[in-house]
């Protein structure tokens, strides 16, 4: 699958004076489960709202499924952070809402899913538990049979058991249908075993975008004598440089494989959470693939100064 599901070019959104998202360029291939991570207020929600067509960009463009965001409405489902439902509607009313608002609607799937979760159709949604509300909202989103599912902090306000269930159910649907999922979180451990593409947003900018396996393969943690660190930094892109007087720990990116190093370096692979935290601590570092897009200059990896 090489189709690009989500493509942002120089995308920016300004609220009055403040840029919530700036100069964001990324491309997400179809069939991926994308983890959109970053601290609170980094611009994750803004990016999702732009992709859902709820916001108009201040700068740049965002294309979803080959059309400007907001055009392929039936093929994109969005679940906002607070998982909104009409509180006075019964669960059955919510399904009817989905059926009336979408030409493509899998009612059998929705009913079977809710029955499997023991969620009664005749209850008002406002009286369900937080976990059940999240499941109803997710069911309404999935029953549209979307090609792209945008989830804003789907785990927020859920207890660990409900988190696990929501995530497991979601992955089952992904395995069945091959839809692309873009989900945001500020808890990396939620995403570790489920996502295969990583996008790191920090201070309104996209810092990292790429296949998680490739990213983990390209990054290495080096620890060794501090006096050797300068030589490494001149040859490799250093994401984070943590030095004491004698000891240096470097997170380096070597896309084409690690060159031969002084044997005094101890090299070990990096875990996803470490990788994310290192980038977040170093907002000037970036790991972005070369995107060749009309009207946009290729984005080079920005070397650590």
């Amino acid at each position: 699958m090489t189709e690009t599901v989500l493509e942002a070019t120089g995308l920016g959104k300004r609220y009055r004076r403040r840029w919530a998202l700036r100069d964001c360029s990324l491309a997400v291939p179809a069939g991926r489960v994308v983890a959109l991570v970053g601290p609170n207020g980094a611009g994750k929600t803004t990016l999702l709202h732009l992709a859902a067509g709820l916001l108009a960009p201040t700068a740049g463009t965002v294309r979803v499924l080959g059309s400007p965001a907001g055009h392929e409405r039936g093929r994109v489902a969005f679940l906002a952070q607070d998982k909104p439902l009409y509180e006075t509607f019964t669960v059955a009313d919510m399904l009817r809402f989905g059926r009336r608002m979408n030409p493509v609607w899998d009612d059998g799937f929705a009913r079977a899913r809710l029955a499997g979760l023991d969620i009664p159709l005749d209850h008002r949604t406002g009286r369900l538990s937080g976990g059940q509300q999240a499941q109803v909202a997710l069911t309404v989103a999935l029953a549209k049979r979307p090609d792209l599912l945008l989830l804003d902090e789907p785990m927020a306000n859920l207890d660990p058991l409900a988190r696990h269930e929501v995530m497991r159910d979601l992955m089952a649907v992904v395995a069945d249908t091959g839809l692309t999922v873009l989900l945001s979180s500020h808890v990396v451990s939620d995403l570790e075993n489920t996502c295969d593409w990583l996008v790191v947003v920090n201070r309104g900018r996209v810092q990292v975008s790429g296949d998680i396996e490739d990213l983990l393969g390209a990054h290495h943690l080096l620890s060794g004598p501090a006096e050797l660190a300068g030589a490494v930094a001149s040859r490799l892109a250093v994401v984070e440089d943590d030095r004491t007087d004698r000891q240096a720990t470097l997170l380096v990116r070597a896309t084409d494989g690690l060159p031969a190093l002084d044997p005094r370096w101890h090299v070990r692979p990096v875990a996803l959470e470490e990788l994310v935290l290192s980038y977040l601590r170093q907002p000037e570092s970036a790991a972005l693939p070369r995107l060749v897009m009309a009207g946009a200059a290729p984005t080079d990896p920005v070397p650590f100064p």
Binding site: Y15, M101, V140
Partner: protein, 317 residues
């Protein structure tokens, strides 16, 4: 979409319908009784006039509240349409379905706007039917009395629609229900005061008044006319002043203070009074003019609401 509009707004629609039905029943029972009581009484007789006057005043006190009724359409049907979606976060749900935000807004405006207008028209028709049982008294009062003019005929529907659209627009801008209700009410009150208040004399622009020059104190205006001013003319036919006291002083009438009625004196001295007024037969012309104005404003504001729905939660700045 129709189902959704009904499901979300059925409560205020049902409450409005029940209240209209109750009000209509009261008018119907009262009106039928009036017809019964007046059967056999000679037209123009004092007995009939007294009876009709009594029948009118049975309910007149309640009619003073009529101008508030369209405001409720803005508060409870208009303001929540968009404000509540923003407030509860369901905007993100409603506007990410296959139905586009613009179609969502257009459908809501059309369906609810039609319902609200029909409610207003129903109220106007019921009131007109009741006023019909009062003969000339009804015809005059529905034109001359502010609450009855706005609550009867076609303009009733226009006021309801206007108020509803103001509520929707306030909700679009403010995105919170209670402030939107307050602004909708304020917009309605401002419009009402501008159109009704004698300070602006807005309704005087609807038509040229009838002008009659009278040379005796007898009122030349038909019952139920709306005054549009009067002027004193001197014996040569020149307009002097609308205020009687200075005219009387200039004419040499004995000074009895500014509150005294000098008209007998002035008429004997050859002065005449030009009165301008709108006779009750102008009722429908005024009704349709005001309906056109209010509907025009409502459509323009409704158009802006639809236009703003391109990007429902924030456009280019």
């Amino acid at each position: 979409m129709l189902w959704l509009v009904w499901r979300q707004h059925r409560l205020p629609v049902l409450v409005t319908s029940v209240l209209l039905l109750a009000f209509g029943t009261v008018l119907l029972v009262h009106g039928l009784r009036t017809v019964d009581l007046t059967a056999g009484l000679a037209a123009g007789s004092e007995e009939l006039d007294a009876l009709l006057d009594r029948r009118f005043h049975d309910l007149y006190l309640f009619f003073n509240w009529l101008p508030l009724v369209p405001a409720l359409a803005g508060l409870f049907l208009g303001a929540p349409v968009l404000a509540r979606e923003h407030e509860t976060g369901t905007a993100a749900l409603a506007w990410t379905q296959s139905v586009s935000p613009r179609r969502w807004v257009v459908t809501k405006l059309l369906v609810l706007g039609t319902v609200v207008t029909l409610c207003g028209l129903a109220l106007g028709a019921m009131l007109n039917a009741w006023l019909g049982t009062l003969d000339e008294l009804g015809q005059g009062n529905r034109f001359a009395l502010v609450p009855l003019f706005g609550g009867s005929g076609v303009v009733s529907g226009a006021w309801w629609l206007f108020s509803f659209v103001m509520g929707v627009a306030a909700g679009t801008v403010l995105r919170r229900t209670v402030p939107a209700m307050a602004v909708a009410l304020a917009a309605y009150v401002v419009a009402f005061v501008v159109i009704v208040s004698p300070i602006v004399d807005f309704r005087d622009m609807y038509a040229e008044p009838t002008r009659v020059v009278q040379d005796s104190p007898a009122d030349a205006r038909p019952a139920g006319s709306v005054s549009a001013g009067s002027d004193w003319l001197d014996p040569d036919g020149r307009t002097v002043d609308s205020d009687m006291y200075p005219v009387a002083s200039a004419a040499g009438c004995p000074d009895e203070g500014p509150q005294f009625d000098y008209s007998p004196c002035l008429f004997t001295k050859g002065y005449r009074m030009a009165v301008e007024f709108y006779p009750p037969t102008m009722y429908w012309r005024f009704q349709w003019t005001e309906t056109a104005i209010l509907t025009g404003v409502a459509l323009a504001v409704g158009g802006l609401v639809v236009w703003s729905a391109r990007r429902p939660t924030g456009g280019r700045r």
